[in-house]
């Protein structure tokens, strides 16, 4: 069987974000990048399936982006993917979800993947579009937001997470694509021996021009902080002063302290 997992590299979300020169995305200076959290669950699930199926199964991890995304690919290889495809695109952040999905679909077309895993959404862009769009373009069965995954003889049984804590149970036949939600599994940490082994695994570089055939369907006009509503008080300083202030506020504004 052939498996594919798509990962995006995103900045640490605790960073401060400043608009870039064009004012349409963030400036990357001083940001530290890592694997999109949702995609870690996707990689873990793909690796678990790879392990269950054993010999004769090949798991490819793919990422579109500039050279820095090789770090995320290496992590996925150390987690247990067999090989990697780096679709080289320094301008990936300027592409809309339709284009990103089209590039991945162009790569996957004719390769005969049985199961494709993606994250439910990327943490920086958060469109929740790329996975489902790939499936539509390739004509694959697809379900989203999965928190449980099981595969048996050509059938996937997945649980989708719905609002308010209920789940929907779905069966779909492969070839299929699933988008992974937080909590699907416990992503492993790559061990040192596996990090060493991963160094020998192949990373194929493909220039994006070989796969890009679509124009963007949507454009970003601006990237900016939310309008401050104000009102809230911001307290800073020494811990014991902060405690004094908060105690005073609790007494003044709430009925919980007497």
């Amino acid at each position: 069987m052939k498996l594919l997992v798509c990962i995006k590299q995103v900045p640490d979300l605790e960073s401060r974000f400043k608009p870039d020169a064009a004012g349409v995305w963030y400036n990357e200076t001083d940001l530290a990048f890592r694997m999109n959290e949702y995609d870690e669950y996707a990689v873990e699930q793909a690796v678990q399936l790879r392990e269950k199926l054993g010999e004769g199964t090949e798991l490819t991890v793919l990422s579109i982006g500039p050279d820095r995304v090789v770090e995320a690919l290496k992590k996925a290889l150390a987690m247990g993917c067999d090989n990697a495809a780096h679709i080289q695109d320094p301008a990936a952040s300027g592409k809309d979800p339709w284009q990103i999905a089209s590039i991945i679909a162009a790569y996957a077309k004719d390769k005969g993947f049985d199961v494709i895993f993606t994250g439910m959404q990327s943490q920086d862009r958060g469109s929740a579009q790329v996975g489902v769009t790939i499936a539509e373009q390739l004509g694959l069965a697809c379900t989203t937001t999965i928190v449980s995954f099981d595969y048996d003889n050509g059938t996937i049984t997945a649980k989708r997470e719905l609002e308010g804590g209920i789940k929907g149970v779905v069966k779909l036949k492969t070839p299929a694509l699933v988008t992974c939600q937080l909590g699907l599994n416990v992503p492993r940490y790559p061990t040192l021996p596996n990090i060493m082994k991963a160094k020998k695994k192949e990373i194929t570089a493909i220039p994006v021009v070989e796969l890009l055939r679509e124009e963007a369907l949507a454009t970003t006009a601006s990237f900016h902080p939310p309008a401050k509503k104000g009102g809230g008080i911001v307290l800073e300083g020494d811990v014991s002063d902060l405690v004094d202030k908060v105690i005073a506020i609790l007494k003044d504004k709430t009925a919980v302290l007497r």
Partner: protein
């Protein structure tokens, strides 16, 4: 301008969030038609065209079939915008419709602004203004971002039907896990977020909850990592709460968490990041390390 709103129906009920779609269309000043895979026994209270397909025949979750129904209504209505909620139903179905029509999709809209739609990004810390480049577009709107509107009247029904070709079999629903705490009744909730650092630190948050006579809540990563059970989770996929006091410890303020607690009477957030989005709705943002500040506060409260 014309919109086709896609209503939601689950476990035999028309979801109230469907009225937010009407609120959105109203803000756009658009003419509206609606589509619902539902039942004639529960109709949205509005007086426009309603494309209705029978849920007993079409299923509550059958995206391939629902997509066909929507495409049929799109053909009849030629709407400028096809609008979904950004929900487990909407984010699953919207890209299928957009891809079939080869038109733009704008996700998780929080506001209508000059020159396009405002959407959240970077975990809610930042915003983007996005513009469709196609004449028609698919939109998904953030739950809670637009007012609930119940214009009254009764819809003019046009029945739709389609037969399956679906690659997917829906087996059924699984109920939410049993609760071991009932946050809905608590007057004070002190919640632990990922910023608490590790499982060993959870008792520090529990101690403040106890000192304030309340219960402990949590954000999703804390539950996913199994530091606390799911019954403590606050947010769209957990519980919705509105205590007198909500204390968020090391919680960034992602939209799905805010949806579960923003109606609290008074909100105090403790976060080392002054720019954390939780600051947008907190009455007080204490910029500090939770593990230094919380024990000090507990000691003073307990005194």
């Amino acid at each position: 301008m014309k919109t086709l709103l896609i209503g939601e129906y689950r476990e035999g009920k028309l979801l109230e969030s469907t009225c937010e779609l009407l609120g959105f269309a109203n803000q756009l000043g658009a003419e509206t038609a609606m589509l619902l895979v539902g039942s004639e026994n529960q109709l949205p209270v509005y007086s426009g065209t309603l494309y209705l397909a029978d849920v007993a025949a079409c299923g509550e979750y059958n995206p391939g079939l629902h997509k066909k129904l929507i495409l049929e209504a799109v053909q009849k209505e030629s709407p400028d915008y096809i609008v979904f909620l950004h929900s487990s139903y909407g984010w699953d179905l919207a890209p299928r419709v957009a891809a079939s029509l080869r038109i733009a999709q704008v996700s998780e809209i929080v506001a209508i602004v000059d020159g396009g739609f405002e959407v959240g990004c970077c975990n809610g810390k930042m915003r983007r203004t996005v513009k469709p480049a196609t004449a028609q577009a698919v939109l998904t709107i953030q739950a809670g971002a637009f007012p609930v509107l119940q214009p009254g009247g009764s819809p003019e029904i046009r029945k739709l039907s389609a037969t399956d070709g679906g690659a997917l079999e829906f087996i059924g629903y699984e109920a939410a896990e049993k609760k071991d705490v009932d946050l809905a009744k608590a007057e004070v909730i002190v919640s632990a977020g990922r910023g608490v650092g590790k499982k060993d630190n959870i008792p520090v948050i529990a101690a403040l909850a106890k000192a304030l006579g309340g219960e402990m809540g949590a954000s999703r990563p804390v539950v996913d990592a199994e530091w606390v059970s799911h019954s403590h989770q606050v947010g769209t996929t957990g519980q919705t709460v509105s205590p007198k006091l909500y204390v968020a410890c090391g919680i960034s303020g992602a939209i799905q968490h805010l949806a579960g607690m923003k109606k609290s009477d008074f909100i105090i957030a403790i976060n080392k990041d002054k720019d954390a989005p939780i600051g947008e709705i907190a009455d007080v943002l204490v910029v500090a390390d939770v593990m230094q500040f919380v024990p000090a506060l507990t000691a003073r409260v307990a005194r």
